[in-house]
Symmetry: C4
Subunit: 216 residues, 4 copies
């Protein structure tokens, strides 16, 4: 920043000059993202329906087994995404306006998960419900991959953590995105099979990324 | 504060004297505002309706295209507002009771957006739904403009950032407010056209503010 | 704490010994309380009903004027409570288990406000809806008063801020509680009149507390 | 860390090397957990139903006494869990991936409480509603016990706080879990009696844990 040739007032206009200020702003972006994740993950519970005037409440509850599967899957998915987001932010040195925009776009996909999860719980045997879920997860993972790649290219990552192995985080995200994309035609033929593909990618994607040298 | 002539007990009564304490309080106002934004933006998802016992879930989902447009628009709007709020707070040095009150009033408008967004999604071709959305956005942007102007007049902005170019932030907010106001009579005649005006103002308002020397 | 005669392991068991740790814990209580306030205030929007397949959406929206009044009142009430809570916490030096319990009880009342607000919006001309609102506000303000008095008696307030004028914060809270109590029999006879009493107490209670030397 | 024999790039890959960075990450996990607790506790209010076009609103409200009991119980339960979680985190020195996973699993149970509470409020005299509540609480307390035991075994607790008395925190959690388990067969025979068992365990479990030397 000492070598930045732009006039001081332009810099002042674009962002506060003090490191402390940036610290506060970074914290706000983190807090906002965490808040959205925390709310989205908690709204998953709204998928369960309270039986109304049911003579046999146990039976009514057991009939929601699709919702239980969708809840467990989506909680694991959102928890996993949050951990990856958490790790990504921990290697960031700073933010720019474009990364903020990308992060908002990413969150716009994340916020849809409670809805797609509820549809999956109710229509898990139906191609439509499965494809909707896969499409939103495709949006989530693609945007996250773009976010990571952009952060590396724009030099927003801490210099000491710009090692080759970190670059695979974006790759891992695109691999997962490819599986979600591939599961869409699969869901047209075999809707029950597609979620199995997702589960496999969540575990082997993790292992694959480890092989490639990056855990997220 | 060393030259403040009021008696010490009055100052103590009005606010804690230590800088650290103010740091904590400022952080609480920021956290509260961020929390409200994060919840409001996540509640946007409640606008989507789960098809009930639908034989054709794809068709039921596709029929919600109005909701998809309203979701995308409102997520962009709330994200944009949060970024502007974020930037405004980063130039603030301190808070007073009136700015806190204005900020609460501002948040009271922001909280209404998930509702107006849901109405817009269901009644986007109807003047009523469009006018309601425009009226709330008018409230949001007017209050934000007043908040900015007040903060500058009351000397709550960091001295090193009180340059001329920052004053345009309030102006930019009033320009956007004026377009929302102008879209109300337009919506009475052509409800489909008014949202286009909003989109234009969100992009050219940004460019215009840049011309005027301030990005928010 | 240097003069504390209890053995070190008992102290260690009860709370972490480092000031930093207490800083973190204090921050968590604050963040949790702020989170509850932010969510409760945002859930107020759920009181508005989306007209379903309404031929005249404007008319449907205008018929919710009771909800608009309840929203404005409850946003002002929750905003005011949050500001007072904010100010109370800023004079606290530390927490003990009992104050934490009282604070949770206080939040349990606060969380009910979106519900009582929605009932008030729908049944504002009915004694039942008005009494329910007054009863919950009575619970809120009484608990807050007890919280303040307890914090002073248990010596949890910063020594430099234990001046006489701060003690009136509890008194002010009890005065407001008394007005909410008095509004209950009034609501039985004149349900439309009781909310006016609340508005008066929110403004003159403020002025009265100022006369007594404390703003909250 | 100076004596860590793993190559520097492996360490860099697994976690940021700076203490400050871990401070930020720890804070995010805490903030996320607090956010989930705050939202779950606030969503409890959604269990109350707004009477629709009721001629006698008081009667409609009084008929929700089961919901009031479930609300009070669940607010106390979630508040108590949050306090215990709060205390547990205050003795932690650091996190590892497994503890993060366990904490997410724990939160997955916590998020279900607003749903089970609503079912309990509506079907409190029915074995099904009571067993569902007990089963989720069993999941909560078992997972919390495992989290505590794991943190001690993996050496994630601050060295100065690894005294014998802290180990009882896990034990206390398992005792409470055992009572929730025992209440399930009881609920089959006497659904009204099981919640009394829970209340006893919440108070005597507390006392018992105190006898054992740990308050949570």
């Amino acid at each position: 920043m000492a070598t930045d040739s732009r006039p001081a007032d332009v810099l002042a206009r674009r962002h506060p000059q003090h490191r402390d200020e940036w610290g506060v702003e970074f914290a706000r972006i983190v807090a906002f993202s965490d808040g959205v994740f925390a709310i989205a993950i908690t709204l998953l519970v709204l998928a369960f329906q309270i039986p109304e005037n049911s003579p046999d409440v146990v039976h009514s509850l057991l009939s929601q087994s699709g919702d239980v599967f969708a809840y467990a899957l989506s909680f694991a998915v959102l928890g996993r995404l949050w951990l990856a987001h958490h790790r990504f932010f921990s290697v960031l040195e700073r933010f720019d306006a474009r990364l903020m925009g990308l992060n908002l776009l990413y969150l716009a996909w994340v916020v849809l998960v409670p809805f797609t999860s509820e549809v999956l719980g109710d229509y898990g045997n139906d191609s439509g419900g499965v494809i909707l879920y896969a499409a939103v997860m495709l949006g989530v993972t693609l945007t996250f991959g773009v976010e990571i790649v952009y952060a590396y290219r724009a030099g927003l990552v801490k210099p000491e953590l710009r090692g080759v192995e970190h670059r695979y985080a974006g790759t891992a995200s695109f691999i997962v995105a490819a599986v979600f994309l591939a599961s869409i035609p699969v869901a047209l033929v075999a809707p029950d099979f597609a979620p199995l593909m997702w589960l496999v990618v969540f575990f082997s994607g993790y292992r694959l990324a480890r092989l490639l040298g990056y855990e997220s």
